[in-house]
Amino acid sequence: MKKLASASVISVKPLSPACILLTVETGDTAGIAAGQFASISIPGVYLRRPFSVHDADGAVLSFLVKLAGKGTRALAGLRPADKISIIYPLGRGFQLSAKPAVLVGGGAGMAPLLLLAKQLQNRGIRPTVVLGGRTGSDIVRLAEFARYAEIKITTEDGSLGVQGLVTGELKALSADTAVYACGPEPMLKALHGLAQIKKFSLQLSLEALMGCGLGACLCCVTDTRTDGRVCVCTEGPVFRAEDLPW
C-alpha cells in the first residue's frame, strides 16, 4: 500500500561535490523492494521528484541524490528536523533471483543497489557490485556496499579502480548470472547488448520524468515489446531487459 507521509529529515550528508545522502524518518519501511522509489515534494519546484530508495531500515529511509538542478539543490539545503512530504513505496522493484548476482551501477544509478545488495545477502547471496563513474569522486558509499557485496570499480579517467566502462568488467559473465542494473541509458543499452550475447538475465531500472508517479497521468511511458507504452512509475521502474524494444 502506498503511503503519503510527512517525513522528518535526519541528515543531509555531502558525499562528493555532486552527490548527497538524504536520510529521513518516516513511518514503516517494511516490505519495500529494492528498486522501488519514493516521490518527494521539494519546495521551489512544481512537481514531486522520484528517487530510488537507497536504504530502508526500520523507520528510516535514505536516498542517494545526484545534484543535477534546482530541485536536488533544494534537497541539499534541507536541515535536520525539516519536514518533507513523501509518497512511498512506488513502482515495481527488482525481482530477486536465486542465481549468482552482479549489480551494475553507473553514477547516480548506484542508488537502488545498496538495498538490493542487502536484500540479496538476506537471501544468502553475496553479490558482486560493479560501480562505474566518470571519475573517482562519482563512486560513493564504498564502505556500505562492502558490508553486503564484493566491489569492482571502473572510472572513465582511471582515477579509481579499472579505467574504462562497467561493461568491460562483465565480459566474462556466464549465462547463469542474474544482472541487475541502474544507470544512464547508454550504459543500460550496452548491457542489454551484452546480455543478448552472454545470455545472462538482466533487469534494468529506468529513469523517467514523472507527472504523478502513481500511474494516473500516463506521462512517463516507455515502449515495451509486447504491452505497448506502459508507465515507468507503475510497470517499472525495473523492467526485464527482454521486455524493452532496444
Partner: protein, 303 residues
C-alpha cells in the same frame, strides 16, 4: 452545518469538488490516500472507441508553475473500460463522469452509445478540447459550428447529463459556450489545457515528442478563471470550472466567477489530498462568512 451540495444538470453532487479527467486515472490510483466517496464526483481518463497508444515519449515537460503534457489520449478503449474499470467504479457511491473522445463524430457516438446503458456512469463529458491529437479533440472545440454539430449529434444518444469540455485555445469562449448550449449541452466544463511548448537548450530540440503540448497547473489559473467568468455570463447551463485549482481559495474564486462546481487536476500530483483539503476549506469559508449553502457563492462576484 453548511450545505456543500450542488446540482449539475440533474446530477446531484454532495460537494462541488470533482477530479479532472486525465489527472486521476480511474480513481484507484489515489485510493490508498483518501476515501474516493468523499469527492463530489470523479471524472476518469478519456476513452475512445478503440485502444490507443497515445504519443511517443517524451510526453512531459515541467514549467515554473505547471506542466506541459503530450499524452495524446492513451487508453484501452471503451470495451475494456466497461469490462475492467466500470464494475469497480460501480461499487463507489461517488458519481463517475466519463470523458469521451473520438477522431470523428462516428467514434464519439459509438463510445457514448456503449456507455449509455452503464449504471456506473453518472454523466458524459464530451471532450472537444484535447490539444494532443491530430484528429478530433480540439478540432471540434475551436469551431462553434463543428462543436454544435457534434453536441447535437450525440445529445439524443444518451439520457445522462452531457457536459461539453471546452478548450481555452479560442478567440472567444463565449461564442463556443453558447453554440454548444444551443445544441443541447447540459453543462460545460473548462478549461482543458492551453497550447504550449518548451525547448531543451542543450539539445536544441523540443522537450515534447509532439513539439507542442497542453499546459496545466497553477500557471493557467488566471486564464481559466477569466474564461469561466466569460462562459458563465454567456450561458444559462451550469459551468464546471477548472484550470490550476490548487487550494480552497482558488475554488472559491471559480465559484464566485460563476462556476457551479470545480475540478482539480494537476494539483493532485503535488498533493493527493488536495481535493479533501479544498472541500474542508470550502466548509470553513462558508461558516466564517455566515453562509449556509455553497450555491450562494456561485456567480457572486462583486463588480
Amino acid at each position: 452545518m453548511v450545505d456543500l451540495s450542488v446540482n449539475i444538470a440533474g446530477l446531484r453532487l454532495k460537494n462541488p469538488v470533482i477530479t479532472a479527467s486525465g489527472t486521476y486515472g480511474y480513481g484507484g490510483e489515489f485510493a490508498d490516500f483518501l476515501d474516493l466517496n468523499r469527492l463530489g464526483a470523479l471524472t476518469i481518463k478519456g476513452v475512445t472507441a478503440r485502444p490507443r497508444q497515445g504519443n511517443p515519449p517524451p510526453r512531459l515537460a515541467e514549467t515554473p508553475a505547471g506542466l506541459l503534457n503530450a499524452v495524446g489520449l492513451q487508453n484501452q478503449g471503451v470495451d475494456y473500460l466497461i469490462k475492467e474499470y466500470l464494475p469497480r467504479l460501480a461499487k463507489l457511491t461517488v458519481p463517475v463522469i466519463v470523458n469521451v473522445d473520438g477522431d470523428d463524430p462516428e467514434e464519439y457516438a459509438a463510445v457514448i452509445k456503449k456507455l449509455c446503458g452503464q449504471k456506473a456512469v453518472a454523466a458524459i463529458e464530451l471532450n472537444i478540447s484535447c490539444p494532443n491529437v491530430r484528429k478530433g479533440g480540439m478540432v471540434y472545440g475551436v469551431d462553434p459550428r463543428l462543436a454544435a454539430e457534434l453536441t447535437a449529434l450525440v445529445k439524443p444518444l444518451c439520457d445522462k447529463p452531457l457536459i461539453v469540455k471546452l478548450t481555452p485555445n479560442v478567440t472567444d469562449i463565449a461564442v463556443i459556450a453558447r453554440a454548444v448550449e444551443a445544441a443541447g449541452a447540459d453543462a460545460v466544463s473548462l478549461i482543458n489545457t492551453l497550447l504550449g511548448m518548451a525547448v531543451d537548450v542543450e539539445t536544441q530540440r523540443p522537450r515534447l515528442s509532439t513539439i507542442t503540448g497542453g499546459l496545466s497547473g497553477a500557471a493557467v489559473k488566471p486564464v481559466a478563471l477569466r474564461m469561466v467568468w466569460q462562459a458563465a455570463r454567456a450561458v444559462k447551463i451550469p459551468v464546471i470550472g477548472m484550470g490550476g485549482i490548487s487550494c480552497w481559495q482558488d475554488a472559491v474564486e471559480f465559484l464566485l466567477a460563476g462556476a457551479s462546481a470545480v475540478a482539480v487536476g494537476t494539483a493532485n500530483f503535488q498533493n493527493p489530498l488536495v481535493t479533501l483539503e479544498i472541500i474542508d476549506g470550502l466548509t470553513g469559508y462558508l461558516k466564517r462568512r455566515g453562509l449556509s449553502r455553497v450555491t450562494e457563492l456561485v456567480g457572486g462576484l462583486l463588480v
